[in-house]
């Protein structure tokens, strides 16, 4: 792996004419990258505001988030620097590795009797579900790109379904319904762009709903997940068992609502400063944005996401090959869905899941995953002239 774009030779006085216009290093989408970093910087501030009152060291989480961002940057540039075709060749290996990790996690969980969604690696927790987002996208896009046709054939559709299904089921078993929904959404996005018939998409939807229903009925999910769903169905419930779950959502909605148009101001949000919204720095950072910066601030933040999505969409469009398009479509859908899910639950229009808000929520796994995903999008953009 050579980081060629970092090794530009000194300018010879004639401008950088040694590099051709098609050189990947000259085709970085700086708008996307700036947007991404703007979001990450905002995220660090939001994490600080949402966690400082609850920690011995108010900077602890924000500092760690900065460190995560630095690590994520390294990962992103590594992904950018390699050709995505090169990654495609190793997709199966990465995918298999992910499945092994997921299965291992499941087996460890079964043996210890404790539900696990991460491996404890000392300084930080590693969540294989996050890795699965990256590798499943890679393997699915590679698999579909091999069929050089406008439409996805039924056998290939089934194959793709199985590729997505295996990690999805393992993630559901963790149980991490939020991450599983991201995988499903990604698959739908990629398959849609790849030309799956509407009825295939419908089939995925039915399968996804059926799987979730089966998980609930079969009690594969946790008590708190059942409570969250019940609360979502009946938000005004007075059932005392559900009060904790109600309380969380109600306060998140209050935090956003009380922000009003202009917000309470930086570090001036009583609900953000208080302890009413559990794990706010990871699960409800958007409530902190809404309360402190109001409709205006939240709109600015969402606009940055729109900008990022537009750029990704554009790259999908620009890509000359199917793989690039599919990869971008997958990242687009994942980001869109996860954003909608997280913001939606903060606003009380989606049930509560543990899905973090991309770039904003505290958490290394999520941040690194999205940096890697954006890296692959950049990689597509950089090599579109090829």
């Amino acid at each position: 792996v050579t980081l060629s774009f970092l090794q530009r030779r000194p300018d010879s006085g004639l401008g950088n004419i040694r590099a051709s216009p098609g050189d990947p290093s000259r085709n970085i989408d700086w708008v996307l990258m700036l947007t991404q970093y703007a979001l990450t910087v905002i995220g660090c501030f939001i994490v600080f505001s949402a966690s400082r009152t609850r920690l011995d060291d108010p900077y602890a989480f924000a500092t760690r988030q900065v460190v995560f961002a630095i690590i994520a940057t390294v990962v992103m540039f590594a992904v950018m620097s390699v050709d995505y075709e090169w990654l495609k060749e190793r997709a199966r290996f990465l995918y298999g590795f992910t499945l092994v990790l997921l299965a291992l996690l499941f087996i460890v969980g079964q043996l210890t009797g404790v539900d696990r969604i991460s491996f404890d690696l000392g300084p930080f927790n590693f969540q294989p579900a996050e890795l699965a987002k990256f590798t499943t996208l890679l393997v699915l896009a590679s698999y579909l790109a091999d069929e050089r046709s406008d439409e996805v054939s039924y056998p290939r559709f089934l194959g793709g379904l199985m590729l997505v299904g295996a990690p999805t089921v393992l993630v559901i078993l963790q149980p991490d319904l939020g991450s599983a929904s991201v995988l499903v959404a990604m698959a739908m996005g990629v398959l849609l762009v790849a030309g799956a018939k509407p009825r295939y998409i419908a089939l995925i939807s039915v399968l996804a709903v059926a799987t979730v229903a089966a998980a609930f009925i079969g009690r594969l999910v946790n008590q708190y997940q059942i409570e969250r769903l019940r609360v979502f169905v009946d938000q005004e419930t007075s059932n005392p068992q559900l009060q904790d779950a109600v309380y969380q959502v109600r306060n998140a909605v209050r935090a956003v609502g009380t922000g009003g148009i202009w917000g309470k101001g930086w570090l001036q949000g009583p609900l953000t400063n208080g302890r009413d919204i559990p794990v706010m720095w990871a699960d409800f950072p958007f409530a902190a944005v809404g309360e402190q910066f109001g409709l205006v601030g939240a709109s600015v933040l969402l606009s940055l996401f729109v900008l990022a999505l537009v750029r990704i969409w554009r790259i999908a469009h620009l890509s000359r090959d199917l793989l690039g398009t599919y990869l971008c479509a997958g990242v687009f859908t994942m980001l869109l869905w996860q954003l909608f899910q997280n913001v939606g639950m903060t606003l009380g229009i989606m049930p509560v899941t543990g899905l973090p808000m991309p770039f904003i929520s505290y958490g290394g796994s999520s941040l690194i995953t999205y940096f890697a995903l954006f890296g692959i999008v950049q990689s597509v953009h950089m090599r579109r002239m090829r």
Binding site: R148, D150, G189, L192, V193, G195, Q243, D244, Y247, N251, V253, R254, V256, G257, T258, G259, G260, I261, P270, L271, N273, G274, R275, D276, G290, G294, L295, A298, S299, L302, V306, L309, W313, A316, H317, L322, T325, A329, F332, T333, L336, W337, F340, V343, G344, L347, G348, I349
Partner: protein, 719 residues
């Protein structure tokens, strides 16, 4: 590949994005503009928190400042309910606290689950923690979010069980009291006075709750103190009770009741047939209960008031189980065994001959007789107003004097006037007055009797007072309607009822306190007073003096009740008073008439020297149900004739025999004690209550009973 198809599909994806963003955007706008105000309100409502500040209850002192009811500071560890709402937080806090306060986690969880703690105060997890532990917790408040130390007060009665019936006790607010105390601004979790002065002076003793209002953040942590209203402590209450005399009165009361149980009443035998078949030849007096009350008849202050059986009022704060409580205070329908009644103000008694004083007054006042009117007492009285043939048909027309012990026949006193009739307690004299009153006017006697306060509450500042009954048409009708009397009883006052009333029997009902007020009015020249036990209210915080005492000289009197309002002044000129006082004095000193001693003469001639307070008094023997000799209750009322020691004392011993043998010795002892002629035991603070004890009160006994000695040898104790 057809790029346009791919573009179309990407377009679909973009469309999905637009839709989802629109949803979020609309919802965001809706929340932050339309609902912003409403949500702000819902947050602001919970932004202040009130912490109630408990007032310290006023203390209760005796006349000398002895602390009869005190408060002990109790530190309680409490946890804010908000902090416990979530199971995980709760477990965490309980886990941390458990080691520090030595309470198992499960016990705290049990408390959380039970609904007996007020939601307005932090949930108490441990009461009575040591000061050092409390400080240690406060110093680590960072580690114990929501944990606070509450200062509470526990009522203690350092001299219990002395004056327990007067001081009273505390208890939880009952359901019936809910509304009343809620209106008064009480926290319904509080304990309030439920008996005695604790109850009657509840509002003065209680003080007023204060509060601290904090602005809190969303986590309910105080951010800023908005308002503080300090609590107003309760007034300290000084009683007129003198604990030295109180203790002596309780000791002599209990001692004499126990002694009386050794004596027997004889079941008279007439021609070999016992008068009360089914009973042995001699029956022991049960002497289960009694009371004594000492009144300052100049001021209306109660100096001592004892009721037996008594109790230790610390049991009510001892945190004992309900089983233990029932063991100590058994639920009973037997009035002999009732503990939680103050018999001096709640007893519903016949007064026997002690009542004759008032009938004599009525006759003199209505000029039925003059001091010089003599009547020939032949041992019985036959009604004149009922025809002989009616009498022959079974209506009771003949009323006999009580039996003289020396011959077993009704006593015959010969020629007696009012003074002598009181001195020797001639029944016939008063039977005649009873009939004459009845013939002159149905309420004539009653009106005079009611002047002394009979048939109405005295208005004493103690709860549950019984107002008594002076028999008249109305009260008898009520009794008949209630089915209390024998079936077929006429629902109006008959001449026989009036005759019975005239010797303090029959339908008459009065309390020992009423008797004391009545005698007090004779003693003080006609002032019928409202008796009272509260002497003064002091501003909160009278400082302590010697151990067990408050230093009243350093206190500020808020309201003095030294002298009570008089209910009325009744005519008591010498022409009315002298025959009464002379008769009552002669009852004590003799001589009698017709060879008979006066009723109290033999008692007071032994060990009651001239240097003792001169007293005038009257014995009474009230017949109980069935007229069995062994159910006679014993009464004695006496007042001091020394104006510097204006005390009236009444003792009533239930089912304890003749007044001269049962109650009178108690009164004699008390007056001897007041005269300083017998040694009284020093009053000491009580040892701590032993929660395993099965005694409802520590016994009170006289060390020396020689003051009860009498030359009357008419009965002997059984072995």
């Amino acid at each position: 590949m057809a790029a346009d198809k791919r573009a179309t599909r990407l377009g679909v994806l973009a469309l999905v994005g637009v839709i989802l963003f629109s949803l979020v955007g609309i919802r965001l706008w809706f929340l932050q503009t339309v609902r912003a105000e409403e949500l702000q309100d819902s947050v602001t409502v919970s932004k202040t928190r009130e912490v109630p500040l408990v007032p310290e209850r006023g203390r209760i002192f005796d006349a000398d400042g002895r602390i009869l009811a005190d408060n002990e500071r109790v530190l309680t560890v409490g946890v804010d309910w908000q902090m416990l709402r979530k199971k995980a937080d709760r477990d965490e806090i309980f886990r941390r606290l458990s080691g520090w306060i030595d309470v198992p986690i499960e016990a705290m969880e049990d408390r959380y689950q039970s609904d007996r703690y007020s939601p307005f105060l932090p949930m108490p997890v441990k009461e009575d923690v040591r000061e050092v532990d409390a400080i240690a917790l406060l110093e680590r408040s960072e580690d114990f979010p929501g944990v606070s130390i509450l200062t509470e007060w526990r009522r203690v009665y350092p001299y219990a069980p002395l004056a327990a019936h007067v001081v009273g006790y505390m208890g939880a607010i009952t359901e019936e009291q809910d509304d009343q105390y809620r209106d008064l601004g009480y926290n319904l979790n509080e304990r309030v006075g439920q008996f005695g002065v604790e109850l009657s002076m509840e509002e003065a003793l209680h003080g007023r709750w204060g509060k601290r209002v904090y602005e809190v953040d969303a986590a309910n942590r105080p951010v800023r103190l908005i308002e503080e209203i300090p609590p107003i402590n309760g007034f300290d209450v000084q009683l007129s009770i003198d604990l030295d005399i109180q203790q002596y009165a309780e000791q002599s009361l209990q001692t004499q009741l126990e002694q009386r149980r050794q004596f027997t009443a004889i079941n008279p035998v007439d021609d070999g047939v016992p008068a009360f078949p089914g009973f042995p030849r001699e029956v022991n007096y049960k002497a289960p209960a009694g009371s004594t009350v000492m009144l300052d008849h100049d001021t209306g202050q109660i100096v001592a008031m004892a009721s037996y059986p008594t109790f230790d009022n610390r049991w009510f704060n001892a945190g004992i189980s309900s089983e233990k409580f029932r063991e100590l205070f058994p639920e009973t329908d037997d009035p002999d065994q009732s503990i939680l009644v103050n018999r001096a103000v709640q007893g519903q008694y016949n007064l026997g001959s002690t009542f004759k004083t008032f009938v004599a007054y009525a006759a003199l006042a209505e000029q039925l007789i003059t001091p010089g009117s003599y009547y020939q007492d032949t041992g019985s009285y036959k009604l004149t107003s009922i025809d002989d043939d009616v009498c022959a048909s079974g209506v009771r027309c003949e009323f006999k004097n009580s039996i003289c012990a020396f011959n077993g026949l009704p006593c015959v006193y010969g020629s007696v006037n009012a003074e002598l009739a009181l001195a020797v307690s001639s029944d016939a004299f008063f039977y005649k007055l009873g009939e004459e009153f009845y013939l002159r006017g149905r309420t004539l006697m009653q009106d005079q009797l009611e002047l002394f306060g009979f048939g109405a509450d005295t208005g004493i500042d103690l709860p549950y007072e019984y107002g008594g009954r002076v028999p008249d048409d109305e009260s008898k009708e009520a009794l008949v309607a209630a089915g209390v009397l024998r079936p077929g009883e006429e629902p109006r006052l008959l001449v026989g009822d009036n005759v019975q009333t005239s010797i303090g029997q029959g339908l008459l009902a009065a309390t020992p306190l009423q008797l004391a007020v009545g005698y007090g009015a004779v003693a003080n020249g006609g002032y019928v007073l409202t008796p009272h036990v509260v002497k003064a209210l002091y501003e909160p915080g009278v400082p302590d003096g010697e151990p067990g005492f408050a230093d009243l000289t350093l206190g500020t009197v808020h309201e003095s009740r030294e002298r009570s309002a008089e209910v009325r002044q009744i005519p008591m000129g010498p022409e009315l008073r002298d025959p009464l006082v002379n008769g009552l004095r002669r009852n004590i000193t003799g001589p009698g008439v017709n060879g008979r001693s006066t009723t109290a003469e033999e008692l007071f001639e032994v060990g009651y020297p001239d240097t003792a307070i001169p007293v005038a008094g009257k014995t009474g023997t009230a017949q109980g149900q069935g007229n069995y000799p062994w159910t006679d209750s014993s009464v004695f009322a006496a007042f001091s004739m020394d104006p510097t020691k204006p005390y009236t004392t009444v003792t009533y011993l239930e089912k304890a025999g003749f007044g001269s043998l049962g109650a009178a010795p108690v009164v004699k002892c008390i007056f001897l004690a007041l005269s300083g002629l017998v040694e009284t035991a020093p009053v000491a603070m009580s040892d701590p209550l032993d929660p395993t004890s099965s005694a409802v009160a520590r016994p009170q006994r006289l060390a020396d009973t020689s003051c009860m000695a009498s030359s009357d040898a008419s009965e002997r104790p059984v072995d």
